[in-house]
């Protein structure tokens, strides 16, 4: 059957194999407000699409039609949805992963994902397909390439995390049969994060992925010793901070893992103190001591670092008592008036909240 290809400028209306379909106009007989100025090609294809949806036809030519629309407008979710239903109805159950329609679809998605990286639908369609092909490792490899182009793409990252979560630690089904391959999907995730953070230690998506891999999905093989894992991650975060202290991504990760493991912030006061004051006040002698637990800020770091000041104040507030609260208030005051004036209202709120706490009042902001 001849296909209408995207580089072909003929319209569906001109093709004899579509002559049996009567196109359906979008707004029949009305002159709508706020119209979009469509190209003739787009109007033509969507007119035929509306007709197909009405008739309920699910055939191979519908795959051509929906591909044509998607190439013109990848956010046309109805075209995606109808395409998926059509594909499923054309595939046998169970579907061998080598079925030509399926492999063609996967190849098409590889092309479209690169073209339309920022569209929800391209990623969701892959999600639907991988549940048929059951080849998650192939997806992880593909995503890796995508993240080289756009290392903070939200859809790409959440798709990667979905793949890891959905297929658990288990491997995929081989192309040949239904036999499970004993490969650990998660095996190279931490290395992958390391590579990305080595390129850009401020990439928050990569930090989030680190949290996802190490903490958010339960405990996997080889990671059972949580104390060792916590120690490893603390050192990792602290070293990232020492390279570039004013990096909220690294501090948020550090705070996140402390909260997740119920480790008090106060256990890292020594570390944070080296970052929270002007450079002159940090004892020069301190520099000679190499302390892996408490790496010092780099020579070029800009001190004091607001994130470190905030961290210390938070640690002291939890420790409590007049002395610690006073110290915290001093820190918040310095943030409010000097280091982070934009958030003055918030720092004042923290001061007020801490005072209420000290007086035994109900603190306002906990959980709801």
């Amino acid at each position: 059957m001849p296909r209408k290809l995207d580089f072909d400028d003929s319209l569906f209306a001109d093709l004899p194999e579509w002559a049996d379909v009567t196109p359906v106009e979008q707004y029949e007989g009305v002159n709508p407000v706020a119209p979009i100025f469509y190209t003739p090609e787009y109007t033509d294809a969507t007119n035929y699409f509306r007709a197909i949806v009405q008739s309920g036809e699910k055939s191979e030519r519908v795959l051509d039609l929906t591909e044509n629309i998607i190439r013109q407008n990848p956010a046309h979710y109805s075209a995606w949805q109808y395409r998926y239903e059509t594909l499923v109805s054309l595939l046998p159950t169970p579907t061998p992963s080598s079925h030509p329609l399926l492999t063609a679809e996967v190849e098409l998605m590889d092309e479209l994902a690169v073209l339309f990286l920022k569209t929800y639908q391209v990623w969701h369609h892959r999600r639907l397909l991988v549940q048929i092909t059951r080849e998650p490792q192939r997806e992880l490899d593909f995503i890796k390439k995508g993240l080289q182009v756009d290392s903070k793409n939200y859809h790409t990252w959440s798709y990667r995390q979905w793949i890891l979560g959905f297929f658990g630690g288990k491997g995929s089904i081989s192309k040949e049969g239904d036999e499970e391959i004993d490969e650990d999907l998660w095996a190279s995730e931490l290395d992958f994060v390391d590579t990305l953070l080595a390129t850009d230690v401020r990439n928050n998506s990569a930090w989030h992925h680190r949290f996802f891999v190490v903490w958010a999905c339960g405990v996997r093989e080889g990671e059972e010793d949580r104390e060792r894992v916590l120690k490893r991650e603390l050192i990792y975060a602290k070293q990232a901070i020492s390279l570039a202290p004013s990096n909220p991504s690294a501090w948020n990760y550090l705070r996140g893992i402390l909260a997740h493991t119920n480790t008090p912030f106060s256990s890292l006061v020594t570390f944070a103190e080296a970052y929270a004051y002007p450079r002159e006040s940090v004892d020069a002698k301190q520099r000679d001591i190499v302390d892996l637990e408490n790496p010092l800020p780099s020579e070029s770091a800009d001190l004091p670092c607001a994130e470190a000041m905030e961290f210390l104040a938070d640690a002291w507030e939890v420790e409590g008592g007049q002395e610690k609260i006073d110290a915290a208030v001093t820190m918040w005051t310095a943030l409010a008036n000097e280091r982070d004036v934009m958030r003055k209202k918030y720092w004042e709120h923290r001061i007020r909240d801490a005072h209420l706490g000290l007086r035994g009042g109900q603190k306002k902001t906990t959980t709801a």
Partner: protein
């Protein structure tokens, strides 16, 4: 004197490089000290941008939003509302007719005629009808098929309390917000509909404090979803748009949670911390970013800036949440007494500067940041964010009581949830005399409802219609304690 640049600690990376490029661009938009020019919101110019879109239509590049026709129209007509402009009856009717062409025969609304029903365009369509519609034949409101809408909603519901945005589509908190908003307007909230949803929303909060798009269940070997406390990781990092949707959903679910055994929790302190840190510094003109270490963008004025008002419904910030006794604060400025809690927990004036100095496109419409073009989406969310920074709209116990007292019972068994939802959504009012408008009253915008992003009048009218209730007249009231100074410029 220009504000300091964001440090890169002598360690440049791709993130710090694009940050510094953005600052170079933004710095040109900071007016110098000697300039006597008043900050001006060019309402006329934005009006002509909107009228152009409404009357002439959208240029070819908007084909990419052909499946978002309800959004294009919602952004446009709501921007009119925020700018205090009403539409004439002829245009209103044409808009109603267009919206009704999107209703799907099996319930819900699609992105255009003949498109599949989807939660996002359903929300946008109902909001447009709230603005331009009316009861009766041809008015739009009574032509919404509520029964089919409810069936459509239930057909999208998953076991974990979440919802697909459309059949065979993804799950995310945008869809949940849209569904809950529509269900609240149309009196479709039932325990059956929202059971488990709050727990799902809570599971989307990340370690950073903001919310992600979705979360993923852990499965047992048999393929069943494991019950809590099984790990349920969020998919994607904390993000401004998802945070607004999750937080608004959380607030909309409070009436249900009050009556339910379900007691999920979120970490409000961490959420507040994340939100305040999304506000850029002075060199970024106080605009908001959508994620940690990303760039400021005008639309987050609403998604992040607008979230602060929602926190007031959870007891954080706002004068009605302050303990009335005076607690000394000692940040070295002011008179040492907490007298201005109602100014909010972020820098409202700075946000207004971002929108006025950087958000306005020189030829009309508003934008992400210079030198980008204006578009319909950023025009609305910059204006809504600006409005939210100007006004203090809060959930008033007094107003709520007014609605509950005037409630006409229908003897339905689900009356209690209906009543609470109704009283809760309509409890939001603007605090009188509490506006802080940069550039003076010429820049004043209409206040919008923090949950619906419609005006309070539009919110009240459509909700009262579907609940078959009356809207009692507002009592003139200022929440106590009395304000020291209402610093309206």
């Amino acid at each position: 004197m220009l504000p300091p640049k964001t440090t890169n600690d002598g360690f440049p990376t791709p993130t710090s490089l694009s940050q510094s490029e953005t600052e170079e661009m933004l710095i040109k938009h900071i007016p110098d000290d000697t300039s006597q020019k008043k900050p001006t919101l060019d309402k006329k110019m934005h009006m002509s941008f909107l009228v152009r879109n409404l009357v002439q239509g959208f240029p070819e590049r908007y084909i990419s939003q052909d499946a978002s026709q309800p959004w294009l129209l919602f952004w446009t007509v709501q921007a009119f509302s925020v700018l205090q402009v009403g539409l004439d009856p002829g245009n209103k009717q044409r808009i109603i007719d267009k919206v009704l062409a999107w209703q799907h025969p099996d319930g819900g609304f699609g992105g255009g005629p003949g498109q599949a029903a989807h939660l996002l365009p359903t929300y946008a369509s109902v909001c447009i009808l709230a603005i331009v519609g009316r009861p009766g034949p041809g008015g739009g409101w009574d032509q919404i098929d509520r029964e089919k809408m409810y069936k459509f909603f239930m057909s999208l519901k998953l076991k974990d309390g979440s919802f697909l945005v459309a059949h065979h589509s993804e799950v995310d908190v945008r869809g949940i917000y849209c569904l809950l908003m529509v269900a609240t307007f149309l009196d479709l909230l039932t325990p059956e509909l929202v059971e488990g949803t709050a727990s799902f929303v809570a599971s989307c909060q990340t370690y950073e404090g903001g919310f992600a798009s979705s979360s993923h269940p852990s499965y047992s070997l048999s393929g069943d979803v494991l019950p809590p406390p099984a790990a349920r990781p969020p998919l994607g990092e904390a993000h401004g748009g998802y945070t607004f949707c999750a937080l608004a959903s959380w607030v909309l679910l409070q009436p249900y949670l009050e009556l339910s055994q379900e007691k999920p929790t979120i970490d409000v302190s961490n959420l507040l911390r994340w939100l305040v840190h999304m506000q850029g510094t002075f060199i970024e003109l106080g605009g908001f970013k959508g994620r940690t270490n990303k760039l400021v963008d005008g639309c987050y004025s609403w998604w992040c800036g607008g979230s602060f008002a929602l926190l007031e419904a959870l007891g954080v910030g706002g004068i009605q949440n302050a303990n009335s006794d005076e607690v000394p604060i000692d940040s070295g400025t002011g008179d040492g007494v907490w007298d201005d809690v109602d100014e909010g927990l972020y820098n409202r004036m700075a946000l207004q500067e971002y929108i006025i100095y950087a958000g306005q496109h020189p030829t009309g419409g508003l934008r992400d940041k210079p030198p980008k073009n204006a578009d319909a989406y950023h025009t609305l969310y910059c204006l809504s964010g600006l409005s939210s920074a100007q006004h203090h709209v809060f959930p008033s116990h007094l107003r709520k009581k007014q609605f509950l007292d005037s409630w006409k019972s229908s003897d339905s068994t689900k009356d209690e949830l209906r009543k609470r939802s109704f009283g809760s959504i309509l409890s939001w009012i603007e605090e009188e005399g509490a506006s802080h408008i940069l550039g003076g009253t010429e820049n004043r915008l209409n206040a919008t409802h923090p949950l619906t992003n419609l005006t309070i009048t539009h919110t009240e009218a459509i909700t009262a219609h579907f609940y078959e209730q009356d809207v009692p007249a507002k009592q003139r009231s200022a929440p106590t304690p009395t304000r020291a100074a209402a610093a309206t410029a």
